[in-house]
């Protein structure tokens, strides 16, 4: 247990827990509103922001925040135009964002930063200042979802119906994408841009199978997220594997397990 007294390990645990909360709440909304590919688009576009951060010589997270928010609003606004194909648009944002990131980092003079830790995450190197930032962003997400819960549920379930009933659905849709962007910022430190989608979808998809209300789904998804991130972190330490990838593989196995156990319980219900 010596390991848990080390400062970097304590920070890793804080980061894992903060990431789990965000992915439980926002991941549930992403899954029920079917925003998974849009979330993937925002995450990869945001890589341009990390490149921008390096280029300007600031903490890359501060480049990541504005660029991920801009890409969320950009994808959200253009995809709602009648003639745009949302699918192709995501692909374009995705690749152009990553390409700009690579170029900006290439233009950065001097030392070439460790790209790997932003693409695949490195939870062991999260500084305390980033923990505070993650805490602040989590607080923002929670407050917003708490205050707009009934509207967000309505928009996820039946957007047109909600609009007729007087809900400002366009604003809420954009706001939801911005919350996804903020969640991506929180998750990048833990699992990296490429693996963000896993933490947004896996805990929420499992939770969806076992719960009947959105609140409970968010709660269960957050708990599952904590189990996966902390468990994956422990495993990565024991096996000496990359932390982000180990967390995702652990979560993926959890998903398979829940799928099988659902099958078996359904079958035994049918045969009894």
């Amino acid at each position: 247990m010596e390991i848990f007294r080390l400062e970097f390990m304590q920070n890793a645990i804080y980061a894992a827990l903060l990431a789990s909360l965000a992915c439980g709440v926002i991941g549930s909304l992403v899954v029920i509103k079917r925003l998974v590919s849009i979330a993937g688009g925002i995450a990869h576009t945001a890589f341009g922001g990390i490149g921008l951060g390096f280029f300007l010589g600031i903490n890359p997270i501060y480049g990541l925040i504005p660029v991920s928010l801009l890409s969320a609003v950009g994808i959200g606004l253009i995809s709602r135009k009648q003639h745009a194909s949302e699918d192709s648009l995501i692909g374009i944002f995705w690749s152009v964002g990553m390409a700009s990131g690579i170029i900006l980092i290439g233009l950065t003079p001097g030392y070439v930063p460790d790209l790997f830790s932003y693409l695949f995450g490195n939870i062991l190197t999260v500084p305390m200042s980033d923990i505070w930032l993650m805490l602040g962003l989590n607080a923002f997400i929670f407050t917003t979802v708490f205050l707009l819960y009934k509207e967000l549920l309505a928009v996820c379930f039946d957007e047109e119906g909600a609009e007729v009933l007087g809900v400002k659905t366009k604003v809420l849709y954009l706001l939801l994408l911005c919350l996804v962007a903020i969640t991506i910022v929180i998750l990048v430190r833990v699992v990296g841009i490429i693996l963000v989608i896993a933490l947004l979808t896996i805990p929420a998809s499992i939770a969806k199978q076992y719960t009947r209300s959105l609140k409970k789904m968010m709660f269960l998804a957050a708990i599952l997220g904590a189990v996966f991130t902390l468990g994956g972190l422990g495993l990565s330490y024991l096996l000496d594997w990359a932390s982000g990838a180990t967390i995702i593989l652990f979560a993926g196995s959890g998903f398979l397990l829940s799928l099988f156990s659902q099958r078996i319980s359904r079958r035994s219900k049918l045969s009894s």
Partner: protein, 251 residues
């Protein structure tokens, strides 16, 4: 006073004209059936009334206001929706959504709203399912829940899009008696591709296929149906509720 007033409305998707110079008035005790073939513009017309689409030409007034201002007074029952069977929302929560029409952002639902929801669920006979997830109900039951949602918004007009598309005839009959009951308090507008839905409860009929042909009396002429469907419509009656829509006619 007329509830909805549509004057010379035209609408196109790109090059394709979907509605051409449509005029329609919905009055106090109307029970209007709008029929027409698939692709004839029925759903487009509903979306224009609801302010979800803007017409290229013409005027639309909903309770004397532009649709986006007046539409909260419409109880809208959408066509069968595509949601996952395990979508995490209960019947109660779906109907509560109807109360959003009078609650702004940051305002919680009140006891009055909850009483309204209970009332609406009782009216459609679905109160005992209130805690069920909506995805686990049958099509007919889901339809009732969406009517309850419309009622919970205390509407002054009920608008239904293809309400019986996938419901069996016995349930359909029950469904129409419910609508007849509701029609005592508010106008009801029903849209369908199936002439069979023009059952005994409808008191006005409009045929829509790009152009709208409107009838105060329930009986249509063979000529109207020919204009709308372009073929003799007798076959289309075969699978409806046994009820005569057409005057006797010769082939």
């Amino acid at each position: 006073m007329s509830k909805v007033e549509i004057k010379n409305v035209s609408f196109s998707f790109g090059e394709v004209k979907v509605l051409n110079q449509v005029n329609l008035t919905i009055k106090d005790n109307d029970f209007l059936g709008i029929i027409g073939p698939n692709g004839g513009g029925k759903t487009t017309l509903l979306k224009i009334i609801l302010g979800l689409l803007e017409p290229d030409q013409g005027e639309v007034w909903v309770f004397g206001q532009p649709p986006q201002k007046g539409r909260w007074q419409i109880g809208y029952v959408p066509q069968r929706m595509n949601f996952d069977r395990d979508f995490p929302i209960s019947v109660w929560e779906v109907v509560l959504m109807g109360c959003l029409s009078r609650r702004g952002m940051l305002q919680g639902f009140t006891d009055e709203d909850k009483a309204e929801v209970k009332d609406a669920l009782e009216k459609v006979g679905m109160l005992k399912f209130k805690d069920h997830p909506i995805g686990q109900l049958s099509q007919g039951q889901q339809q009732r829940v969406f009517i309850a949602r419309a009622l919970a918004s205390s509407p002054k007009l009920l608008l239904l899009d293809e309400p019986t598309a996938s419901v069996d005839p016995a349930v359909q009959k029950e469904f129409y008696s419910l609508l007849t009951l509701l029609n005592q308090h508010m106008p009801v507008v029903l849209v369908s591709h199936d002439i069979g839905v023009i059952s005994s409860c409808v008191n006005k009929v409009a045929c829509l296929n790009r152009e709208l042909h409107y009838h105060d009396a329930k009986e249509m002429t063979q000529d109207d149906l020919n204009k709308t469907y372009g073929i003799c419509a007798v076959e289309m009656l075969a699978h409806g509720v046994p009820h005569r829509v057409l005057k006797e006619h010769k082939h």
